[in-house]
Symmetry: C2
Subunit: 382 residues, 2 copies
């Protein structure tokens, strides 16, 4: 292994794929005739198959959570600071599984895949999948991997919603659910931002009703706008101020619409680089899945009733400056869990970094995860 | 006058126009060879010409602040609840002037106007005008109207910024400045939202580099997105929740990208109706003018030094749930005014309605304005 790869990394990893040939009935009423999930694993499943941890990704994430695909990769997986030998989710002890969600654009079946019914890419015909659908698709992956019950399911943002849904839908299969920087349902403002992002994509002249693949184009402006807007909501006002302030790129005003302020340059860069790596139809689908998430809805709009189904123990974490999913939203989950007499630990981490905090190596946050996962390990150790 | 027009309205009004033939030197270095301002007046200028109030409009406002253009108009001017006989800005006593800003799209010279140098619409060639430029253009209007000094200059949001700039640039001509729901400069987050709005407009396939008039189209999708995004920031999370919650338009999910939630319907409606009444080039210009506003910049980044120029008395008002220009931003202005030993009254109004509050008839807010303007009246009464 080349010297560039740090010793506490899971090292070089290769994604795996599984084809599920049995149809999957979806929340929307449609059924997928079959589907593939691409996933990565780190660490080793023990003989009792009780040391498995499922990592659920957020809106723009994928299955590459840790390690490197090639020695020359500039960047490790998106949660590499958290997953690895000696890291909070310690791969010396846990067998970690991270799939790309159904409907994604990183290798699992989604809008980019060929629709067997038509022989061309699904595009806009790919059904909207929900958090419940993801849980079902992931449960089948667990079956394939021989995992009857997860030691823990861990996710931030939309990933935390999956952890919560798993605990409700498969109580016997989740021993711990770690719900980070999430909410039990989107606020009106959250939905509103998603709607602007979707309209940006769908009104792009290159969208072609979602069939842009067939036109050899992508709705790049719309996807770029969606990502720029997303970034504003991922970061706090304070951290934007601290990082960029009102700093001018050229040190003076140019009285035009090219970049004047450094923040504009940052947002444009984030937007354009996203266009190169993400599919617009998947972005639409993921935001709708976020909008729809509301596990209480099937329980008389009573979150306490919903989480009464769960048997897991819970870790709920929020970040003080996260205004997309504020601590108040996490406390709603905690209150419901307490009212349902579930075992829950709640930590609000002081952080200026906004919603993005859940991806960052914030010492107190990582200490909480480390301690929690050490406690889990104690449960399956002889 | 038809019975539909309420007794406390200024009634039927007609805009007036003035052509300024002398060139106007702008902050950006360019000069306008001449310009027109369209404006409305309500009430009567007294013999001493000391009862005049200037109303400065915000991003999407215009000169039609009060009354009706036609008896059959469904809506009165944008600040009709505040301006009229017996209203907080009482036209029985004050002579009220409201111009459309230079660069606007409601009749004053702007991107829609013919550029005398080319014989076609300015479009993107219209120079970016700043708050200082507006103040200069309005000062010339005051000269034309025979107003040496304003009893008060009043504005909300970008309008409040003009009131503040006036007090600094023309200390002898402003006796009171009422700065409502404003800030002494935009935050990084504010600039970031403006940048997304501008990119939405400029990346619209119908934008044509700002020359869309010549193509017989408008960048409607981009302008719609800008307005939708604006609306999210004008309203608080709480009021969005109270008004729309997660209510579904059809009472059930349809699993698609048409309107599912009422909030989506509201935003789309706000967006499309805006396209019919506002010009995209003006939107770009107004947001840049907001970005650039920073009166402290010419005084060593010291707001106290900047407002030391002023001789006016100040009323500063903020609204508790305004997260676009939060009370903290108003308090920065108040602190600078106090440090500069200026006379300032500050009120933070409890309101769930977000930034939009400054346009609404909130009893305590209007009581504050009424009392303040009664005090002003006492100064010019014999």
């Amino acid at each position: 292994m080349p010297t560039e790869i740090p010793a506490d990394s899971v090292g070089l990893v290769s994604p795996r794929k599984h084809l599920f040939e049995e149809p999957l009935q979806l929340d929307c009423g449609a059924a997928l005739p079959g589907y593939e999930l691409v996933y990565e694993t780190y660490g080793t499943l023990n003989a009792a198959a009780d040391n498995a941890v499922l990592i659920c990704h957020a809106l723009s994430g994928d299955h590459h959570a840790a390690g490197y695909h090639k020695a020359e990769d500039a960047k490790a997986g998106w949660w590499d600071n958290c997953i690895g030998p000696g890291k909070p989710v310690d791969t010396n002890h846990f067998f970690v599984v991270c799939p790309n969600n159904l409907g994604g654009c990183a290798g699992s079946t989604g809008p980019l895949s060929i629709n067997p019914a038509t022989g061309r890419a699904y595009g806009p015909d790919f059904p909207i999948v929900t958090v419940r659908d993801w849980v079902e698709s992931q449960a089948r992956l667990a079956d394939v991997l021989g995992i009857r019950s997860w030691a823990a399911i861990l996710g931030g943002s939309l990933g935390g919603m999956q952890a919560l849904q798993w605990s409700i839908d498969h109580p016997e299969r989740v021993r711990h659910a770690a719900v980070i920087a999430a909410a039990s349902k989107l606020s009106t403002q959250n939905i509103a931002f998603n709607e602007v992002a979707r309209q940006a994509i769908r009104s792009d002249a290159n969208f072609h009703g979602g069939r842009y693949y067939e036109h050899g184009v992508v709705p790049q402006h719309g996807l770029m706008l969606a990502r720029m807007l997303g970034h504003i909501t991922y970061l706090s006002d304070d951290v934007l101020h601290a990082r960029f302030g009102r700093e001018l790129r050229d040190g003076k005003l140019n009285f035009g619409y090219d970049v004047e302020f450094q923040i504009e340059s940052y947002l444009r860069h984030q937007g354009t680089s996203f266009v190169g790596r993400f599919d617009a139809n998947t972005y639409l689908l993921m935001t709708r899945s976020l909008d729809y998430f509301d596990p209480a809805a099937r329980h008389g709009d009573n979150l306490t009733q919903a989480v009464k189904q769960a048997k897991a123990k819970f870790l709920v974490v929020s970040f003080s400056s996260d205004w997309r999913f504020s601590p108040a939203r996490s406390r709603e989950i905690v209150r419901a869990l307490l009212d349902a007499d579930r075992d829950v630990s709640y930590v609000e981490i002081e952080s200026e970094l906004g919603h993005d905090s859940f991806l960052l190596e914030i010492p107190r946050y990582h200490a909480v995860l480390r301690t929690y996962f050490e406690r889990i390990r104690a449960e399956f150790r002889p």
